[in-house]
């Protein structure tokens, strides 16, 4: 059936803008799940901090303050910084790497995580593959969530940093090949700007979820990574554009991962590409950009329409926030669930050929089976099935509960 989820098309993305004015405060949750590991705070209330100074540390990443200021709250759950009115310019000092053995500590110290939404610490990822590095680096610029264009913006306007990060990974890990994965429609936007760089193109479809790592691996290798298998097991290091950009900035300017490039979407306005400091509130981003938000008629969404979540104005931008969106509420989102009519739309939408409604029924009825476990383990909760369901069945929420149920059963 022709129920597809189109990715963004249209004019090339504009250059990313810095957020002005600077926020008056920044707040960071130290939630272990959000950081993929426990974080220990390393500043106290009342401490003065500088831009780039560590404020919390975990086993695989360090969290830094993006701006200079004073710590007002510091406990096990969060750190809040009151920003100084005067912010000194960042003092750029390159921090090159000599050897691949330095990579895990380097990446941990800069706080690099997967910035395509996964937030998985790079230090842990690279430490795992140091002994047997992959053969191909894939720059994932597919950016399949509808409406988002920040990766394209970075590739056009700040590709020096992106390719600095990519070249460093490729050379240090001895990878033979570099592939740039893009959507078919964005290749023509990018080609004029990337002529001086050496890589192979990989075109993925112009629909969601074309940018999923598993699908890119499957297209490159002809083989889908099984549940529990990583893309690196097939020889690929798939890295989001924003992650490489952050890595490149560290190499060139010495700047840790303190900024978040994202797309700001609002009704009746063209999308804006921004670079905002981590920990800034959504409310400040909206008011700095002159975007109004009426909670009665609209909804504020972080991280994308398909895999994101509804948030309030006091939401704080984290490392995985690829977008902030003000969306007009649609009645269909709040419509109650209707009985399934077995139209098969979810089967068609699933990029992995799973059986969504079959899985959902079995989860709800508590009927565990090996087939259910196998399919549920494969599912990466992209939400495509829920988006095409005409009966408004919350499939992805059921799968999320199902994964927890299976984990508790095991």
């Amino acid at each position: 059936m022709r129920r597809t989820i189109p990715s963004r098309t249209g004019a090339p993305s504009e250059a990313p803008e810095a957020l002005t004015p600077s926020p008056s405060d920044l707040a960071f949750s130290l939630d272990a799940e959000g950081h993929r590991g426990a974080m220990q705070v390393c500043v106290r209330a009342g401490d003065a901090v500088l831009s780039g100074q560590p404020i919390a540390e975990g086993e695989w990443q360090v969290l830094h303050s993006p701006l200079a200021g004073t710590v007002s709250v510091s406990d096990a759950r969060q750190v809040v910084i009151q920003c100084s009115t005067e912010q000194p310019d960042w003092c750029a000092a390159p921090m090159p790497l000599a050897d691949k053995s330095e990579l895990p500590d380097y990446l941990r110290a800069m706080g690099l995580v997967g910035m395509g939404g996964g937030r998985f610490p790079y230090a842990r990822r690279i430490a795992r593959i140091l002994e047997r590095p992959p053969h191909t680096l894939v720059i994932n610029a597919v950016e399949c969530e509808p409406g988002i264009g920040i990766d394209e913006s970075l590739m056009i306007h700040q590709n020096r940093e992106v390719f600095a990060g990519a070249e460093a990974f490729k050379n240090l890990l001895g990878m033979r090949r570099c592939v740039l994965a893009v959507r078919r429609s964005t290749r023509r936007h990018l080609e004029p700007f990337l002529e001086n760089h050496s890589f192979d193109w990989l075109e993925m479809p112009d629909r969601y979820p074309g940018g999923a790592g598993k699908l890119i691996s499957a297209k490159l290798s002809g083989r889908m990574p099984r549940a529990g298998m990583l893309n690196s097991d097939l020889g690929f290091l798939i890295s989001n554009v924003a992650s490489l950009w952050a890595f490149g900035r560290r190499l060139i300017e010495g700047r840790p991962s303190v900024d978040r490039p994202l797309t700001l979407l609002a009704p009746d306005a063209p999308p804006r590409q921004l670079v905002v400091p981590l920990g800034v509130s959504a409310g400040h981003v909206l008011s700095a950009c002159g975007v109004s938000f009426d909670a009665a008629r609209q909804i504020l969404v972080a991280e994308g329409r398909l895999m994101g979540r509804a948030v309030e104005r006091d939401y704080r931008v984290g490392k995985g926030a690829i977008a902030l969106m003000v969306l007009n509420r649609e009645r269909r989102w709040e419509r109650p669930e209707a009985p399934c009519i077995l139209c098969g739309s979810c089967f068609d939408a699933c990029p992995l050929g799973l059986h969504p409604i079959g899985m959902a029924n079995r989860i709800r009825e508590g009927r565990s089976s090996r087939s259910l476990e196998a399919q549920l383990n494969e599912c990466f909760l992209c939400g495509a099935c829920s988006a095409v369901c005409p009966a408004e069945i919350p499939l992805v929420q059921v799968f999320r509960e199902g994964k927890t149920w299976l984990k508790n059963k095991a």
Partner: protein, 326 residues
Amino acid sequence: MAEKQSMKAPFFRSGTDVRGMMWAMLACLTLTAAHFSLRYDGAYFPRFLLVVFSGWALEWVVGLLHDGRSAWPRASTGVTGALLALSVPAHMPLLPLLCGLLVAVWFGKLIVDRNALRLNPMILGRLFLMIVFAAPMQAWLAPGREISAITSATPLGLYKAEGVAFSAHKLLLGAIGGDWEGVYELLPGAPGELMPLLALFFGVILYWTGVLDWRPGVAFLSGFAVVCVVLRMPLVFHLLAGSVIFTAVYVITDPRSTPGSKAGRWMAGAMAGAITAAVRHHGYYPEGVVFGVLAANLLAPTLDRLAFALRGITLRLTGRSPSRGE
């Protein structure tokens, strides 16, 4: 750092909802009825509307009797009524037709446990009519005539009686008329099967707008075609005569009564098509659609369970690329 709990992702919808799908189907069926009415019988369209609204009224009454409360009838019941009206002779007496409608709506839609049995309500109603009201179901009358003084036949009836295949070109365009050697007056069959080209056109639109899946229809036609070739039946004639195309577009694609899985749809559609062709060749009835579709419906839950288990097995064993590797 508050997070809204009431609304969850995805904040995006592709395609229309269930009601929209049913209204789109009903619109196409209504236009089909209007087309027949314009070309052959001006009195048919009001009768078609009467059947559709009767279906809604029946559902309301039955719902009231069953649940003790009044509820708005569903668009899908309108589709059931429309399909039934389009698949029986245009001049079928109203009372038997309404009895068939009652079976379709009451038994087919409201009583049958959709977890245990997924039967197409319209086909149930039609089967009831074929068994209980066999004579009216085969009474093909020219418009404006109450008594048939000359033997009349539909193209399929002519083939069954004389082994003569009507012109495929005329069948495609619904240009059915005249006589055969002065013996038979040729009449169109049921209104829905008059013009296969129109059914195909609406089928493409319904697929393009995300209402229908193409697999069951293509599988049905493929299974039908294979058996026709094996049994040396005139393939093009049989594809265009009777309700094969109508069934491929509107009946075998009924989501409720066909498997949900892709593999299941291929299997069910092919099986229904094969049985239809076999019944046409060997059976008493000139049309075999009812039996083919019902057989596929009966196997639908089993086919879905099988497809689910097979997917799990392939995932555990191989980690192959999926059917949509992109």
